[in-house]
């Protein structure tokens, strides 16, 4: 057990970088998700299609491929970010693409009657969206956004492959130094779990709040 403690400093240093990347990615995810999601709902094709293309590409390829693309190929086109920023951008765009579907689904799920009432009160479309529809939709989006945040946290481990020294790559370094393979990886997994835990609890309490009173599940005879 004591042998594990000397592993902690390196791992926790990596964990700090992991948290930074995750926070950055989530911060990027929200505006991207709303922009792409609301664009998707537009009646104008010129507004819809860029959003569709963006979402399909980022959802249809794996994060790892996207990370390599941004890291190896983008510099050739003259755009070079440092690896950490690259990870934040890729993970943010990726989560934002999935998030756009969450925004779209929640917005269309708000009852039609709300649109009718707002229209009857002569509210213009943008005002209806802002004051009536989105406030109700956002509550529905929260659990899914929580899940996307956990996913972004897990995906930071892939960023270790583009030379970022976060938790996963520090773990690999420790394994090659100490050969305590099993212990190191288990410790790494535990730290990831601890980082994810607050988000998981938050998502679950929101879900419970929303599904209060619905009778689901087996009856014990």
């Amino acid at each position: 057990m004591a042998s594990l403690f000397h592993l902690l400093p390196t791992l926790l240093q990596g964990a700090a970088i992991t948290v930074v990347i995750t926070v950055g990615a989530v911060a990027l995810m929200v505006p991207v998700a709303f922009m792409a999601g609301l664009m998707r709902l537009s009646a104008t094709r010129l507004v819809r299609w860029p959003s569709v293309v963006f979402v399909e590409i980022f959802r249809g390829t794996s994060v790892l491929v996207q990370l390599f693309m941004f890291y190896y190929v983008l510099p050739l086109l003259g755009v070079a970010f440092d690896p950490t920023l690259t990870a934040v951008i890729v993970l943010g765009l990726n989560a934002g693409a999935y998030g756009s579907e969450v925004v779209r689904a929640a917005t269309t799920a708000v009852a039609r009657g709300q649109w009718d009432a707002a229209t009857a009160l002569n509210m213009p479309k943008w005002l209806t969206m802002r004051r009536v529809i989105l406030p109700q939709a956002i509550v529905m989006m929260l659990p899914s956004f929580g899940n996307l945040a956990v996913q972004a946290l897990k995906d930071t481990a892939l960023a270790s492959l583009i030379t970022i020294q976060e938790l996963a790559s520090n773990g690999r370094v420790l394994v090659s130094e100490t050969h305590q393979t099993g212990e190191v990886y288990i410790l790494v997994l535990v730290i990831y779990f601890i980082l994810a835990y607050p988000l998981i609890r938050l998502v679950r309490s929101i879900e419970r709040h929303v599904t209060r009173g619905m009778m689901l599940g087996p009856v014990k005879p």
């Binding site: 009718d116 213009p124 004051r131 109700q136």
Partner: protein, 264 residues
């Protein structure tokens, strides 16, 4: 100049949803100040009729006019084209509607529901809007519920808030779409009383509110309507005064409908 225009005029209005024809070439003219009751079976087109008056749905063909102005369309040369949203809203501002399922905004209090549109659409100062809203809440008997959320109110109370909300925009024409059909029997009366007061001119300073009421409450319709139309299969089957329709309907269809409804 006295207003010569009808409050509402529908000309040859046709609406179908897919294969199902809901309104089949309807012509209707409602003079200002009239209280019109619309009765008929479900699916006869009553709700669609009201929805077209607000352009919640668009007619496939035909025109809708509100106080002499085309709704949702404008004349370009000798053609009719779709209107821009700004002008549509200008014409629409004369009409308010109360829905069967209330459609109150769940994330706002009763007071906020009523002040929302006057503040953001009519650009009323907040304090004026709030004063007017409290006045309306008093008139519908809900002064104490100003800060309650819809989920804390009974169905009847929610519907009365919905009526106050519509009235806050000072429409000249009010539409009521089966507003008591979703209510428990005990609370239907309180909502009908509010509508009755509105018809009698007690709730609005001007009085003379044009009202189009789709309802199943026959005795209520008989009580407050100046005119009743019976709709069947997307067309107006009979159009007469309440006395004629309810005691001596001319059409067989009207007779059989009333017979089945009043047998309770």
């Amino acid at each position: 100049m006295i207003e010569e225009n009808a409050a509402v005029r529908l000309t040859a209005v046709r609406k179908a949803f897919g294969q199902h024809v809901v309104l089949d070439g309807v012509d209707l003219e409602v003079p200002l100040g009239q209280k019109l009751a619309v009765i008929g079976r479900s699916g006869s087109g009553k709700t669609t009729l009201l929805r077209l008056l607000l352009m919640l749905d668009r007619p496939d063909s035909g025109t809708v006019e509100v106080i002499g102005q085309l709704l949702g369309q404008k004349r370009v040369g000798d053609r009719l084209v779709k209107d821009d949203e700004q002008h549509l809203r200008k014409v629409r501002s004369n009409i308010g509607m109360v829905f069967q399922h209330f459609n109150l905004f769940p994330h706002m209090t009763a007071l906020q529901n009523i002040t929302e549109a006057p503040i953001h659409v009519l650009n009323q100062p907040v304090s004026d809007a709030r004063d007017h809203a409290r006045e309306l809440l008093g008139l519908v008997g809900l002064s104490s519920k100003a800060d309650s959320y819809p989920r804390q109110l009974s169905g009847g109370e929610q519907q009365r808030v919905a009526i106050a909300r519509a009235l806050a925009m000072k429409p000249r024409i009010m539409l009521f779409d089966e507003v008591t059909s979703a209510l428990d029997p005990e609370v239907i009366g309180e909502v009908l009383d509010v509508i009755r007061n509105l018809a009698r001119g007690d709730l609005t300073p001007e009085g003379g509110m044009t009202m189009i009421i789709v309802t199943h409450e026959m005795s209520f319709a008989r009580d407050i309507a100046d005119r009743v139309i019976f709709m069947d299969c997307g067309a107006i089957a009979e159009d007469a005064s309440p006395e004629v329709i309810f005691t001596n309907p001319q059409q067989e269809r009207t007779r059989s409908f009333l017979g089945s409804v009043l047998r309770r």
